[in-house]
């Protein structure tokens, strides 16, 4: 790669001061994410994968080290609305329709009305929710609500999508379907996606790069560049390559965890 990485972190540390003493959430995290990458962060709870994502989003401040997003500080990137963030809970406003929820960031960012309408219908099509614009969140299933929240993150055309276990609360069948859709969406939009998960098959299926993390202190134990092709039918999960990567992820998780099992 000759272009500068979209996200670049060097020797990043983050220590939370708590009542029980300092907690080392992140220790010496160095990682480069290139444009168009689909990077999954996998690890047990407490390994800092969500914290790292929140540092990229300027929702947490690192205590040491450097990180740049789009070549600037996370704060500047946030203010430039460089990324869309998808939380584990869809978090749609019950008093707004699906369309109204997707409009929320657009209203805040001051898009004009016609532009808002066009963007809402475009991203609804992207997540296959066309025709649901006037529905209220409670009229949609959990999977559809999460798709609407992804549409909300896509609406303002940020190049980076940060996703914090977006499908963690959904059942496996819905999850498979959404994973497939997400890959299609990624292929169509060429966004850089950072995706936090604790499902090995999900990480292997989706990613071009898998970052394995371990807890106490949160650190990177392995970075796997996936040899899988960009075109990935669900059946790819039965291929020997897929199973081999899954093995390597599992080994990485086990290595990071060995001392406290």
């Amino acid at each position: 790669m000759t272009t500068a990485p979209v996200i670049s972190s060097k020797g990043l540390d983050l220590t939370f001061q708590t009542g029980d003493g300092p907690v080392h959430a992140l220790r010496d995290i160095s990682l480069d994410i290139e444009k168009g990458d689909f990077v999954s962060f996998i690890g047990p709870s407490g390994c800092g994968k969500t914290t790292f994502l929140r540092v990229m989003a300027d929702l947490e401040q690192p205590t040491a080290g450097d990180i740049t997003v789009n070549g600037t500080s996370p704060e500047a990137a946030r203010k430039a609305r460089a990324y869309g963030y998808v939380f584990q809970a869809a978090g749609l406003y019950p008093w707004r329709t699906i369309g109204g929820n997707i409009r929320l960031p657009l209203e805040i960012m001051g898009y004009d009305r016609a532009d808002q309408d066009a963007r809402v219908s475009r991203v609804l099509e992207l997540v296959e929710l066309g025709g649901f614009e006037k529905k209220y969140p409670w009229q949609l299933s959990g999977g559809m609500q999460q798709r609407a929240s992804i549409a909300r993150a896509l609406a303002f055309d940020a190049d980076i999508l940060l996703m914090d276990e977006p499908f963690g609360a959904l059942d496996e069948i819905v999850r498979d379907h959404l994973n497939e859709q997400l890959l299609k969406l990624w292929a169509r939009t060429n966004k850089t996606i950072c995706f936090v998960t604790h499902s090995i098959p999900e990480a292997v299926y989706l990613s071009t790069k898998i970052v394995v993390m371990s807890p106490r202190p949160g650190r990177i134990t392995d970075v796997i560049d996936s040899p899988l092709p960009k075109e990935r039918p669900l059946e790819i999960r039965d291929s020997p390559e897929f199973i081999e990567i899954a093995h390597r992820v599992r080994d990485g998780l086990r290595a990071g965890h060995a001392y406290d099992v």
């Binding site: 203010k79 990324y83 939380f87 008093w95 209220y136």
Partner: protein, 310 residues
Amino acid sequence: MRNALPVLTVLLAIVAIWYAAVAPMNIRVALDQAQRTGAVLEPVTALERQEVSVWMLMARNAEHLSTTYAMDRPRLPTPVQVGTELWNTTGDMVLNGRGMSKRSLVYHGWITLQSTLWGFALGTTLGILGAVAIVYSRVVDMSLMPWAIISQTVPIVALAPMIIVVASQLGIQDRIVPKAIISAYLCYFPVLVGMVKGLRSPAHAQLDLLKTYNASGFQAFLKLRLPSSVPYLFTSLKVGIAAALVGTIVGELPTGAISGLGARILIGDQFGTPLAIWAALLAAAILAGLLVTLLDVTQKITLRRMGMSG
């Protein structure tokens, strides 16, 4: 309709207890009156009867029991007597075109309602503004909140005359002003507390989401905090309007006011007409019930339209 049975059962139980209490409450007065009309009682003199329990008096003078249920100035009137008095001073007068006569509880209720609504509007406004200030400023939270709590520990009966005196010192002639202030004093607190909780109710993730949009504090307030607080606001408003009514009535008690439900209660006390007191009390209760129900219906409609019901 499934709820009708338990509701009716409780209502019947209250009425039954009320009726059962009328005879022992009224028997002494009833016997004193009967003696004046020449009845022979057991024991004979009023002085001797002081030493005997009401139960014994009821047992020994059973033939006078019925009079305890039909007295002009009973210690405790029967529900029917109160109902009749209420009808005579409201519906009956309205039917005769004297609804706004000074003897009509509709007129006095209207006077009280006006102060209540002014007080409610003032108290709600202050409560909401105070809550916004508390949520957005830690300094205000630390400095205002203790005073808000202290304000509610001062007995309103002690404070009411002072407010009225100060108001007249300031040359405010209109009686509605001090009454509305007292009413607002009682009403702002539940609104303040409820709104603080409501404005703080959005989850952390919700506020983080707005931060990722680089939303301003004012945008976060308008688009997230304010709508999120609506269910809390309505709950507080229902408590607040009842408190506002109580405040107005208390404001009418010690002030020499001659109109308003509170004034009716006071006048009924001074002139020894318990039926008037009870009718005014019942009118106040009905008024409070109507106001709370009105807010309740508004709440249900609003929350349903906001997709927040249940």
